[in-house]
């Protein structure tokens, strides 16, 4: 009897474990042809699934563009739902062992795991997205997401009636802080009274919590919502409550046709195609920047890495101002993080005339600018 019980429990645990493993790792495309060694093998590591309709979806679109561009000159594969942390190193190492020539790891949290695996496989190229650590065979690529958020701030400032903006943020990492501050600068460029409340949900993708946060923002009087999380839950909540919001990473119009003002869409395809082509040509480098930071490929709206969807659900005057703001950023007339910039206690952080350089955008933004309520956690 005792033994029986043990066997039964063991059975349950094993079955459960198997189910767990099956859900956590599903490489989609197996290597098609071993003999065709001219093919470049490209691996992608995804944080959630392409079905998030946000961040990972945008990367998946990029991968599709790679396939379209190179045809059968490349073989791509991806692993989805890879948690940021020790597990990531295992997955990345696995992809390296499968003979990928270049591996794109597509979330900030993969930075250290990617570096670790990159040192183990010096012949394989690694591309870490949104991070700042590099190695001879590990480059970093990033999009200036904050440019789109400045335009969001301009639109929010002109659209809000309650002067309360609700912002849903994921984790306090440089990229997110840049976004919040750029939003605040855009907002204050058109509206001196509006304020932004930030709710941190400590997750990239948690539709329940994102929706809860949106409901709380609305209950607190916010009439414009912005997000730096990946699901369309916030926009759906906005749509239901009759307020407005901005989509994230991908066009989310389908989820909120009346509520979406516009989305900033991440156009990764250009970057992927460029770097894969460089690998084929033998000209792949990690970039030769003047300092540790600027060696990144870090581009934005000017190069179409960040694309804004049409301005909708807003009066013409607002749409015009938004177009103007976007054009100024594209032309370089507006560098966004140009002084005078004061933090939300009124202390001047960037003097008039100075523009933060790329390194400073990563290392010095430890404050909220005017117009953002509260303090950065941690």
């Amino acid at each position: 009897m005792k033994l029986n019980k043990f066997v039964v429990i063991l059975g349950v645990v094993v079955v459960a474990g198997l189910a767990f493993i099956m859900t956590s790792q599903k490489p989609t495309e197996k290597e098609a042809d071993v003999s065709a060694d001219k093919q470049v093998k490209v691996g992608f590591v995804y944080l959630t699934t392409p079905g998030d309709h946000g961040w990972t979806y945008a990367h998946e679109v990029g991968r599709q563009n790679v396939i379209k561009h190179f045809g059968d000159k490349v073989v791509t594969s991806y692993v989805e739902n890879v948690p940021e942390g020790p597990d990531a190193a295992r997955v990345i190492r696995d992809m390296a062992k499968q003979g990928n020539d270049i591996i794109f790891t597509t979330s900030f949290g993969y930075m250290d795991p990617t570096l670790k695996v990159a040192q183990e496989f010096p012949d394989i190229k690694f591309e870490h997205i949104t991070g700042y650590k590099r190695a001879p065979n590990m480059a970093t690529g990033n999009i200036r997401f904050y440019e789109g958020r400045y335009v969001q701030g301009v639109v929010a400032g002109m659209m809000t009636k309650s002067n309360k903006i609700g912002y849903i943020a994921s984790f306090p990492i440089p990229e997110v802080i840049q976004g919040i501050n750029a939003f605040g600068l855009g907002l204050r460029s058109v509206n001196k009274d509006a304020e932004v409340s930030v709710i941190w949900v400590n997750s990239w993708y948690d539709p329940v919590k994102e929706a809860d946060a949106a409901k709380v923002h609305i209950a607190e009087g916010a009439d414009i919502l912005a997000q730096h999380t990946d699901s369309p839950a916030m926009l759906q909540t906005a749509e239901k409550a009759g307020v407005y919001g901005f989509g994230q990473s991908s066009d989310m119009k389908a989820f909120a046709p009346k509520a979406q003002l516009f989305s900033s869409v991440n156009n990764w395809g250009i970057y992927y195609i460029d770097k894969i082509q460089a690998l084929i040509d033998g000209s792949w480098t990690t970039g030769e920047g003047p300092d540790h930071w600027a060696g990144n490929r870090w581009v934005g709206m000017a190069d179409d890495y960040l694309v804004l969807t049409p301005f909708e659900n807003m009066p013409d005057t607002v749409a015009k101002a938004a177009s103007k703001a976007a054009a100024d950023i594209k032309s370089g007339a507006n560098k966004i993080f140009t002084g005078p910039i004061r933090d939300n206690n009124g202390v001047e952080k960037v003097p008039a005339g100075k523009t933060l350089n790329d390194g400073e955008l990563f290392t010095t933004l430890d404050y909220y600018v005017e117009g953002i309520v509260g303090k950065i956690p941690g």
Binding site: A219, E220, G374
Partner: protein, 303 residues
């Protein structure tokens, strides 16, 4: 303010549903730690069936069935094969988490039209209360009705008396001629059914999405709620609103710029759970007096 309270109420509905079911199971003497897994099975079934059929009520039924079936697995092991309830319950949660992720994989990123609010005539026109209590969806009304029914069942009905007897002393109940296993089996399956409904509430009302592990610990909070309520239905309502309130207040705190780390605020619902459990079990006699005496004990009907 109204809107905030409404959000709190909606957040506590799944807790009420799951805790009501678990309360019945525990009063019959079975500790099922698999609530989280059963909720996830309910959530994925509700989402999948709703997105395939377009009818959220079919989704609700599917969720109840999925929860009940998951509970039936638990019943087969703990009642039929007399396995350890704690170990089996934990395994059930891991199993439910994994299987729901597998079943739900094709549905990630999809969206559904969830349950619509149904206004109750006359009552919904009441100031404040009308909006908070009488313009909810059917599943929310169901949660309150089920809680009331369970309270009546336990305290006023003969069947409830038998269930309590089985939970308090299965040997005596057995000696009196009641089928301990049959009663427990029914109680466990009822618990699963309610957990399934609780799970359905997430994708059908709170946010029209499916994502892996979307219950995010609500099943465990429901388990703690049963202890918090000292196995009395009426207190589940208070506890659920309290926990729902804490979940929302941490978001409100952030929105208002309270200077507290958001990570700490996110911990609050779970901290509160632990704090309540510690407080309640501080007085050993109190806990012993309230808990069903044969909770978690294995019954083998040989005599």
């Amino acid at each position: 303010m109204d809107a905030l309270i409404l959000t709190v109420i909606l957040t506590s509905i799944p807790l009420i549903l799951a805790a009501t079911g678990e309360l019945i199971a525990e009063r019959s003497g079975v500790l099922n730690l698999g609530v989280e897994g059963m909720m996830l099975m309910g959530a994925v079934a509700a989402f999948a069936i709703t997105s395939l059929s377009g009818n959220p009520y079919l989704g609700v039924m599917a969720a109840a069935a999925a929860g009940a079936m998951t509970a039936a697995i638990f019943a087969v092991f703990t009642l039929g094969l007399a396995t350890n309830q704690v170990a089996t319950g934990l395994a059930l949660t891991i199993f439910g988490t994994g299987l729901s992720g597998l079943v739900g994989a094709p549905f990630v990123g999809g969206t559904v039209d969830g349950l619509q609010a149904v206004s109750i005539p006359v009552l919904s026109d009441l100031p404040v209360l009308g909006r908070l209590l009488f313009q909810l969806d059917l599943l929310a009304y169901g949660a309150f009705v089920m809680l009331a029914l369970v309270a009546w069942f336990l305290n006023k009905s003969r069947a409830g008396l038998i269930l309590r007897a089985v939970g308090n002393n299965h040997d005596s109940a057995h000696a009196l001629g009641y089928s301990v296993l049959r009663v427990r089996c029914a109680a466990v399956i009822f618990g699963g059914l309610m957990a399934g409904l609780a799970g359905a509430y997430l994708p059908l009302v709170l946010t029209p999405h499916w994502s892996e592990g979307m219950t995010a610990g609500r099943g465990w909070i429901a388990l703690a709620l049963v202890v918090f309520a000292s196995w009395m239905p009426s207190r589940i309502l208070i506890g659920a609103l309290l926990f729902g309130g804490i979940t929302i207040i941490q978001l409100v705190g952030q929105a208002r710029g309270w200077e507290m780390p958001s990570q700490f605020l996110s911990m609050l619902p779970y901290l509160a759970t632990i704090a309540v459990l510690v407080l309640i079990s501080r007085d050993r006699n109190f806990a012993l007096m309230r808990a069903p005496a044969h909770l978690g004990r294995i019954f083998i009907g040989t005599r």
